[in-house]
Amino acid sequence: MTWLWLKESQKADEYLREIQELGQLTQAVQQCIEAAGHEHQPDMQKSLLRVGLEGRAGQGWELSLLLSGSSQAASFGKCFLDRFPPDSFVCMCQDLRVLNAVRDYHIGIPLTYSQYKQLTIQVLLDRLVLRRLYPLAIQICEYLRLPEVQGVSRILAHWACYKVQQKDVSDEDVARAINQKLGDTPGVSYSDIAARAYGCGRTELAIKLLEYEPRSGEQVPLLLKMKRSKLALSKAIESGDTDLVFTVLLHLKNELNRGDFFMTLRNQPMALSLYRQFCKHQELETLKDLYNQDDNHQELGSFHIRASYATEERIEGRVAALQTAADAFYKAKNEFAAKATEDQMRLLRLQRRLEDELGGQFLDLSLHDTVTTLILGGHNKRAEQLARDFRIPDKRLWWLKLTALADLEDWEELEKFSKSKKSPIGYLPFVEICMKQHNKYEAKKYASRVGPEQKVKALLLVGDVAQAADVAIEHRNEAELSLVLSHCTGATDGATADKIQRARAQAQKK
């Protein structure tokens, strides 16, 4: 039938309709397409394939384009069959084109269709690559529209790997040639190519190629392998990946002597701070050396402060560590920290003496708490002395004593204290603290001494609403009046509330 049809015989149409009526047309077309695949002569392939298409004029040239030319898509709308899936036809055309290309005598791979299908395109490409037929391989990839990673990029990478082995070309030229061809082609691993170059003993070329590698994670290990640790370090730092930086640091630490290692760190602040973190956890002594090298006296001071708590057990050791810290602070021109540290030493020694003489726990209490503990223990004289020695400000000392004496519920002493001189914190705190201990009786004593500004508050605290109202009215202070009013509870303070309302009304009249 095929022949009849190709010869444009009228019979063809009859046969065709017959086959169609039998419902075997699809199968017939399919067979024709497959047969084309096993045919080696392009002309015969074309003929067989043409059967799949309607024999109208204009169809033939499309087909020949498909097999030999550049057009990839053919219109199948004019097929004899409605809805015959065009896929198998297109695939066959593509496969044949690839096969014809490799069967060409310049190439000389006489594959059959079955062999090709068995091999897969990937293997065929590999073979082409092995034969260094890079351009053809790339053309095939592009023609078949293979994804770049599997196709063009892979072949370019192979090409580049081959290129680096050309020893007669200079490093610069190779690197440039490779970069020109590859550019930013996705899926190309410059580090793989570089690794190959390194494998061929071309370290300089490898380094040049690595410059094109965007992934630091890939650059760094190879650079380390090539013993370019310092370069690796800066690459790792650029990436921001701290784990990568640590990888290089630990490598460098083993590779370089201590002095060189420290010098390298010094030029890389980010690496230096990371290494410091590492030392803080793992090698405290090294941390100290690092600070020493940089004359970082402030940090050295802090270092010894930490040591005085963490590593030293005995009081002498702790004081010695603090002394070193203080010296460092002086060197850092941080007078405040130095003085504070000296105070801490003084306090430590003193606490030790207190423990020896009075018993009890004093070590590591703050100065404030040491004084409080002394008062609570009834050692008022010593407390006074300590406060003087360390120049505790009057205001705070008053708060301290007030709190301690109220805790002791030593109301007599508290009263004596309150009268020792004029309170720098006023007397409201006395009222508050007595009420906190539920001692209204004592609280009232102080309420009368509270200054006019806080008087109302104090009177309310001790529950003297009536008097609070009087004071507020006297002050003609609206805020105070409403504060008192809010404390008036219906039943008992009715009269007071009325009084306030009257005073308010009067104030408004004026």
Binding site: E148, V149, S153, D184, P186, G187, P214, R215, E238, S239, G240, D241, T242, D243, F246, T247, L250, P269, M270, L272, S273, L274, R276, Q277, F278, H281, Q282, Q298, S302, I305, R306, S308, Y309, A310, F336, A337, A340, T341, D343, Q344, L347, D364, L365, S366, L367, H368, D369, F390, I392, P393, K395, R396, W398, W399, L400, T403, I425
Partner: protein, 528 residues
């Protein structure tokens, strides 16, 4: 699922044991202890370790040094960088991030942030514009650009959800977290602390589930709860009225049952019951929480503290020793509270006069112990507590230009973000607001005063993915706080998102959800 603890592992009849850990060295010691104290005679177990969010060479080295590395069959990473906390909120929950970045020069968390942003872009499209302010913001943007180059092959074909990314350093705005948050959620966090969206509350005000139930009440707080979504971002003073209104609505709904006459009506009523009961439970919970908070906010000390804060933020008496702070120290109030106030004063005065600073420091050391000299130094390094340099106070300029202090604040029906702090408009959010309208060019001068560079980067999109905006359609900005964000700032951003003519919706990401106290605490150093 057990929490990581030292010593022997809890007994369980299992073959495989998986450790999910942050790559931190101290955790490796615990794991090693776990593995080594395994019973040799017991059944052999398989150990696996998953690092979140990334494997760390140092940790593996430490495991090796401890002689247990070989015990792990799998050592992998679970790259969970950004954890979703709500529909509009992501956090890395890395509490050390601020300290590491600004004190220790360790940028690990910035790298993770950049990775997280890359993942986000892989899922929601390339973000065409990146804005940033601050040193860390610059670093993250650089890393993102670098990482994008590493993936040149895979063209992202997802239509972008976000129009902008705004990267903000916490140290551009050190002020905001120091102030007491005054939104409902902010106050819950300030007073009780919200951990991983759970708050532990004292049980007294809640109806006990069973007899003798003295344990803290643990409540999950997120926008899935209708009522909470409505009130979380309101100023606390506006919460009461909403709660009482809700109470009326709910009881009216329950009264409906008397009107239900026909079977059909009853059926309809019953079908609504579960929803109504949930609403009633939710209302009861929040009424109790509001009562608890009210007890605190109406206390005299809270009022005094707030007064001092507001004075500082509006620029009153920031240059001399403050009486209230002095009294707090003398009464040995919690150190964190004192530090927050002193730092706030320092920030609002562009640093304190040397004399004032030394006085505070001395008072703190004498009262709380000399060991805190380390903490004070840390605060100084972070720029929170420092001497004024150059004798210039820049804060008033910043305050006026950015309108950080608003005198007429409406807490009930806010018209400006300043409602979240009852007067103070968070600097960070103001920067975001001004970026979207009219743009940062209008505030160049202030941007130069604030630390770190400000920048803009573009990530070109293929034409097919470029957005054609409908009129009236909002832009979506992803705002990333490097170093932490507070609930009040989140509330302020949500307020901006909801503005009718705002034009910008915000999605918020951060290294850590925090408040002033947890922030300061992370910066403290306790040598013993």
């Amino acid at each position: 699922m057990f929490t990581l603890k030292g010593n022997r592992l809890p007994a369980a009849d299992v073959k495989n044991i998986i450790f999910f850990v942050r790559p931190r060295l101290e955790l490796m010691d615990i794991i090693a202890e776990n593995v080594l104290s395994e019973d040799r005679r017991g059944p052999v177990r398989d150990f696996h370790i998953l690092f979140v969010p990334r494997r760390s060479l140092l940790c593996e080295q430490r495991l090796k040094d401890l002689g247990v590395l070989g015990s792990f069959i799998h050592r992998e990473e679970y790259s969970l960088d950004l954890i979703p906390f709500d529909g509009d909120l992501l956090s890395m929950e890395s509490e050390g991030a601020f300290k590491e970045c600004y004190l220790e020069g360790d940028q690990t968390s910035l790298y993770h942030a950049a990775k997280g942003l890359m993942t986000l872009q892989a899922l929601y499209g390339t973000i065409p514009q990146i804005f940033g302010k601050g040193e860390c913001a610059r670093q993250v943007a650089n890393m993102m650009i670098r990482m994008k180059r590493e993936f040149t092959g895979s063209q992202n074909s997802i239509f972008p959800v976000f129009d902008n990314l705004l990267l903000l350093d916490r140290n551009v705005d050190l002020l905001t977290p120091l102030a007491t948050q005054l939104t409902y959620e902010g106050l819950i966090d300030e007073i009780y602390g919200i951990q991983n969206s759970y708050a532990k509350l004292p049980p007294e005000k809640f109806a006990p589930k069973k007899q003798g139930d003295g344990e803290a009440k643990k409540l999950q707080l997120n926008s899935a709860e209708e009522l909470y979504a409505e009130i979380r971002d309101k100023n606390f003073n506006a919460v009461g009225s909403v709660l009482s209104k809700k109470a009326k609505v709910i009881s009216a709904a329950f009264e409906e049952r008397h009107n239900a006459k026909t079977v059909g009506e009853i059926k309809q009523f019953v079908s609504q019951l579960p929803h109504m009961q949930a609403a009633r439970g939710s209302l009861a919970n929040h009424t109790s929480i509001a009562e608890l908070i009210k007890d605190v906010t109406t206390s005299e000390d809270f009022f005094d503290k707030l007064t001092v804060e507001q004075e500082f933020m509006s620029g009153i008496d920031t240059d001399k020793v403050n009486n209230y702070i002095e009294d707090c120290i003398a009464q040995k109030h919690p150190l964190i509270k004192v530090l927050r106030l002193v730092c706030l004063q320092s920030v609002c005065n562009s640093g304190l006069k040397q004399k004032v600073l030394d006085y505070y420091k001395r008072e703190i050391l004498q009262t709380y112990g000399y060991e805190h000299i380390l903490t004070l130094y840390n605060l100084e390094k972070a720029g929170l507590l420092k001497p004024q340099t150059g004798g210039r106070n820049n804060y008033p300029t910043i305050r006026k230009t950015l309108r950080l202090w608003m005198d007429d604040v409406n807490e009930q029906n806010p018209t400006d973000i300043s409602y979240v702090y009852s007067g103070y408009a968070p600097l960070s959010v103001r920067l975001a607001q001004l970026l979207s309208r009219p743009g940062w060019r209008s505030i160049e001068e202030v941007l130069r005063i604030l630390p770190g560079p400000h920048f803009e980067e573009r990530q070109p999109l293929p034409t097919g993915l470029q957005k054609k905006r409908q009129p009236g359609e909002n832009r979506v900005t992803l705002i990333f706080f490097l170093g932490g964000v507070t609930f009040a700032e989140i509330a302020a951003l949500r307020f901006l998102s909801q503005l009718e003519d705002g034009g910008t919706e915000y999605v918020i990401a951060t290294t850590k959800l925090m408040n002033g106290s947890s922030w300061i605490e992370a910066l403290m150093e306790k040598p013993f």
